[in-house]
């Protein structure tokens, strides 16, 4: 009995002593605490984000930093677990005394971390999670997002479908997407935008396989029976690959137009499937390796390839943009310590990014703290410039940032 307690005490004392004492009186440093998943299904996004963020930090520090401040960025695997990420965020804020929280791929984790950011009044730059809630009804003053949300992708998708109706009259539409918030949000937002545009359509099927479902055969055969003109999907990552591989042999893509405006155009799909990827799929993503054909984008993609030996997925550009947004804000304010001034600086911040076509500069909307960007949607076609991919997107349709933003007050109306 006694020994039990002795051991308990020894360990508790150990806890108190072992914890690193946070003494950081360093001068002229911007500390960023980043969290990304680096294991499991979303691990690729995390690893690409880390590489791109480090690239941005090296570039900025190489030029003498932002207003003399060097950037010091720390990465921790969020394990895609909200409770764990919250613990890491708390450690970043109170022990490491970071100036910014940064990153996060999953919206569930993002929602938990934005809560801490609000409570602790610490700026949180979201770089990859896409739930519209974070910049609408769950928005708090210290949150900013530098990548598209699902509403913007789906609004662009709705415009695409509206145009398509003129050239190739379509009537029926079906949806299949993972059975969790991300899958449901996309479908709701697409229909919202279609209705707002006054597009007439008939829904002939809605399917909700579980996230990471390995076997889509029975969904595919049901979809073949529904025979929609347009097949919208809301998968991401490996699920897209599995669905396309299984659906292809049933001839589904010959009858229905495959349409995936949010995550379908991500390079991971092209690199995984190579020549197996069918031509004529209509896909969108938040950044493309072959569009826009600007010097900034070419340099970004080439530098990333030089650094890692592979081409980036879209998560990379989000992380890259996040680091630059922080540097620009610090330049305006003059130091990284005045949080309220930094919030003001970030609101309305203009920043030229690799995904901006000529003549457009991304900016952060002061009302929603959401970055406003041009959105492009393309069609798969042969292109071997980015191996191991054998197909890339082309035949672009471009949508202006102002046309795809959520209406004020969305979703509470």
């Amino acid at each position: 009995m006694k020994k039990n307690l002795c051991v308990c005490l020894a360990i508790v004392l150990g806890v108190l002593c072992a914890l690193p004492m946070a003494v950081q009186a360093q001068e002229k440093v911007i500390r960023i605490g980043a969290m990304y998943p680096m294991t499991g299904r979303a691990g690729l996004y995390g690893i690409d984000s880390v590489a791109a963020a480090e690239m941005a930090v090296d570039e900025i520090n190489g030029k003498g930093g932002a207003n003399g401040y060097k950037i010091d960025i720390t990465f921790t695997d969020s394990k895609a677990k909200p409770a764990y990420a919250v613990r890491v965020a708390t450690r970043y804020i109170t022990e490491d005394q970071v100036h910014f929280l940064f990153g996060i791929v999953s919206s569930g984790v993002g929602l938990a971390v934005t809560e801490i950011s609000k409570q602790q009044k610490k700026i949180f730059i979201g770089t990859d999670h896409a739930s519209t809630q974070l910049t609408s009804d769950k928005l708090q003053p210290y949150y900013f997002r530098v990548a598209n949300n699902t509403f913007q992708s789906m609004a662009a998708g709705a415009l695409y479908l509206q145009e398509l109706q003129k050239s190739k009259p379509w009537k029926t539409i079906a949806y299949i997407g993972p059975d969790y918030a991300y899958g449901h949000d996309q479908w709701n937002e697409l229909r919202f935008s279609l209705d707002r545009l006054g597009v007439k359509y008939q829904v002939v099927g809605e399917y909700w396989p579980k996230l990471f479902e390995p076997d889509y055969n029975s969904y595919v055969t049901s979809l073949v029976k529904d025979n929609p003109d347009i097949l919208v999907t809301g998968f991401w990552g490996g699920d897209t690959v599995a669905f396309i591989k299984q659906a292809q042999v049933y001839g589904l893509f010959k009858k229905s137009l495959y349409f995936q405006p949010d995550a379908g155009g991500n390079y991971e799909l092209m690199s995984a499937m190579g020549a197996e990827l069918p031509a004529g799929l209509v896909l969108g993503a938040r950044h493309y390796n072959n569009w826009p054909d600007t010097e900034l984008n070419r340099k970004f993609v080439a530098d990333f390839h030089k650094r890692t030996g592979r081409y980036p997925t879209y998560a990379a550009e989000g992380a890259y943009a996040g680091v630059y947004a922080i540097a620009e804000a610090v330049k305006i304010v003059g130091n990284p310590d005045d949080t309220e001034a930094l919030v003001k600086a970030l609101e309305g911040l203009k920043i030229k990014l690799p995904e901006d076509p000529d003549g457009f500069t991304s900016y952060i909307d002061p009302a929603t703290h959401q970055i406003m960007q041009v959105q492009a949607i393309g069609v798969t076609m042969p292109n071997t410039d980015f191996p191991p991919a054998k197909m890339m997107l082309g035949d672009w349709k471009i949508y202006k940032a102002e046309d795809i933003a959520p209406p004020p007050g969305y979703p509470n109306k």
């Binding site: 029975s218 029976k225 990552g237 690959v241 042999v249």
Partner: protein, 295 residues
Amino acid sequence: MDASFLLTQFISGLTMATLLFLVASGLTLIFGVGNVFNFAHGSFYMLGAYFGYQFVSVWSTNFWIALLLSGVCVGLFGMLAEFAFLRRIYGRANEGGFQILLTYAFILIIDDLVKLTWGAEYKSLPRPAGFGGAIQLGDIFIPTYNLLIIAIGMIVVVAAWWVLSHTRPGQVARAAAVDREIVSVLGVNVPMTMTLVFGIATALGGMAGALAAPLRTVTPGAGIEVIIDSLIVVVLGGMGNFWGAWFGALLIGEVNAFAVAVVPQWATLFSFLVMVVVLIFKPEGLFAARKVRKV
């Protein structure tokens, strides 16, 4: 809903059921003979998929040879895991909890080893030559590769039945499942038998992984998704019962296929619902391998 659609849906369910069974058969075999619940079985499935990718896409091996080699490699890996680690906890008090932890440690370690070896990018491998298309009967499409999977599943069922009931190693394994001590008194090397059974079971899992790879995505974390479904199948059929696993897989596959067609909104809940309903009436599963210890 016409007859041809019902048939299509049935075949879709059968494909899913066969792959489920191929994974679950190894799981139930290990449990039946060794009383080990191997949570890492999904990770062996994932390893099989990666070996398949390595052989076919990187080293351009013939698909059929690659399939066999993947099974063999994963089986050797499994035997090593049993021989070096699992064996040490047999017979310990509260063994169940230690089994869960040890096999969970396997999951964690294999996940990172895979990431270190192959990176985090998604991999995919093409269907083998001659099995890339579909047979069309009226308005029914049946992918030839799916038919192949179903056929292989049948062969495995029959072969396993024959080995277990007609060969000496099979009989020894079944006897060891009932009473290890007696079998060992009879002069059989029981620990060796256990290692061998573990090897065969993980080889089945690995082969299932390689066989499924042309239809699915080869990615870190792929093992987690199949383990829960296989677990449902094994529990449903009665743990340790080979035929039970086959029936359980069929039930889950078909229930799922028709739930998708009729109530797509709720399809993901059905496999759990089936399991809960069965377990309320038959807590030891549909075909319990032996009398359940009532404690």
